[in-house]
């Protein structure tokens, strides 16, 4: 799950507040959170900024740093390479489950996984993927 998805999740978990109000409370430049929630590329390089957001949401800053490394483009790259090579993917979901299978398709919001144990196609929402094996080229 990317930092953007994690921030959206935290915001929803804390009552789904208005972005502008939260930015005011934390003392961020207007638009900072919106930008962070929506970016596909790696974001959140400023650890001091992450720490302030972490304090606001009551989570350890390491949690945000963990998600910083799992940006959406990195997941795209993982899915893309797996689909091209026919390799199995392994995704740890926010539900605590781990799904493995071959990527049949992937797009903006989800990907279709043919489970390795057989059965029907599983459509996984990208924002539910907490972690996946990271390689150096991602």
């Amino acid at each position: 799950m990317s930092l953007g998805d994690e921030l959206r999740y935290l915001r929803a978990f804390h009552g789904g507040g208005n972005l502008q109000e939260i930015e005011d409370e934390i003392g961020l430049e207007p638009g900072t959170l919106r930008y962070m929630e929506q970016r596909y590329r790696r974001i959140g390089e400023d650890d001091e900024l992450l720490a302030r957001i972490a304090v606001h949401y009551g989570v350890p800053v390491e949690r945000l740093q963990f998600h910083r490394e799992r940006y959406r483009k990195a997941l795209s790259a993982y899915l893309h390479h797996a689909q091209e090579s026919g390799a199995m993917v392994r995704c740890e979901l926010r539900t605590g489950e781990t799904l493995t299978g071959k990527v049949r398709w992937w797009d903006l919001g989800a990907f279709g996984l043919d489970p390795d144990e057989g059965g029907s196609l599983t459509v996984v929402q990208r924002h539910s993927v907490l972690d996946w094996p990271m390689t150096n080229d991602q």
């Binding site: 483009k73 795209s76 797009d107 919001g109 989800a110 196609l121 599983t122 539910s128």
Partner: protein, 244 residues
């Protein structure tokens, strides 16, 4: 008194896109309904009623076709244009469907010429060579001719894809679309296949898809209840019962 779906949509200030999104009915089908070319199926009638916040009987199942645009002969006569050649008097008797004499296309715009030169340069064709290929100086090209040649070069670019100095690919382009999932949902909806949904919090739901948008999926549960699931809350879903 039932009203046409188009009238209702306009009253609700919705675009066709928005209505399609809300109801889960494709834009193409909605257009057919609005034009009165198709009678609205009972299931779509239900969905439209829900999306438009009206009762089913408020919607006319077969819309009145919109009035056709007035044909040329029915249009009020306009004063003759100054550019019209005088040797063609307006009151000349006309054969039905007689073709008009083609109008002379105006000279090509600078932007068209510039675009043409840019495209030609991709094939190492300079202005002199281009003019030789066209058979006249670029300054004498009309807009129509420029359009034709630009189209020709665009097709050549698409077909030949000349190698660039750097082979820079935009990686992972499918990210720009969400068509695969929507196509999958459309397929399952049409086949009325029950799907099993697992949410972030571990809750599960099962039912057939009755509508979807990029943000929500509405299902009908076996008991007949309809539930709208926010996609942000969904972790994954698959066909119920593990069927392929």
């Amino acid at each position: 008194m039932p009203e046409d779906v188009r009238t209702l949509r306009q009253k609700k200030r919705l675009s066709i896109n928005q209505l399609a999104s809300r109801s889960g009915i494709s834009i193409a089908t909605l257009i057919e309904y609005e034009k009165g070319k198709l009678e609205i199926s009972p299931s779509d009638l239900r969905r439209l009623a829900k999306a438009l916040y009206v009762d089913e009987w408020d919607i006319n199942p077969r819309s009145t076709p919109p009035p056709a645009p007035p044909r040329r002969e029915e249009q009020p006569a306009r004063p003759p244009r100054t550019s019209r050649p005088k040797e063609q008097p307006k009151e000349q008797p006309k054969e039905p469907k007689q073709k008009k004499a083609p109008r002379q296309s105006p000279p090509a715009r600078d932007s068209q010429i510039a675009h043409l030169l840019t495209l030609a340069a991709r094939f190492d064709i300079d202005q002199a060579a281009l003019e030789a290929e066209i058979g006249k100086p670029l300054s004498e090209l009309t807009q129509k001719e420029a359009r034709h040649w630009n189209g020709l070069f665009m097709r050549r670019v698409a077909e030949e894809k000349p190698p660039r100095a750097t082979d820079r690919r935009r990686a992972y382009l499918p990210e720009g679309v969400d068509g695969f999932e929507l196509a999958y949902l459309q397929e399952q909806q049409e086949a009325a296949v029950p799907l099993h949904f697992t949410l972030f919090d571990g809750q599960t739901f099962q039912g057939t898809v009755v509508g979807f948008s990029p943000y929500q999926i509405t299902i009908r549960e076996p008991g007949g209840d309809e539930v709208t699931l926010n996609k942000l809350a969904i972790a994954y879903y698959r066909k119920a019962g593990g069927a392929r």
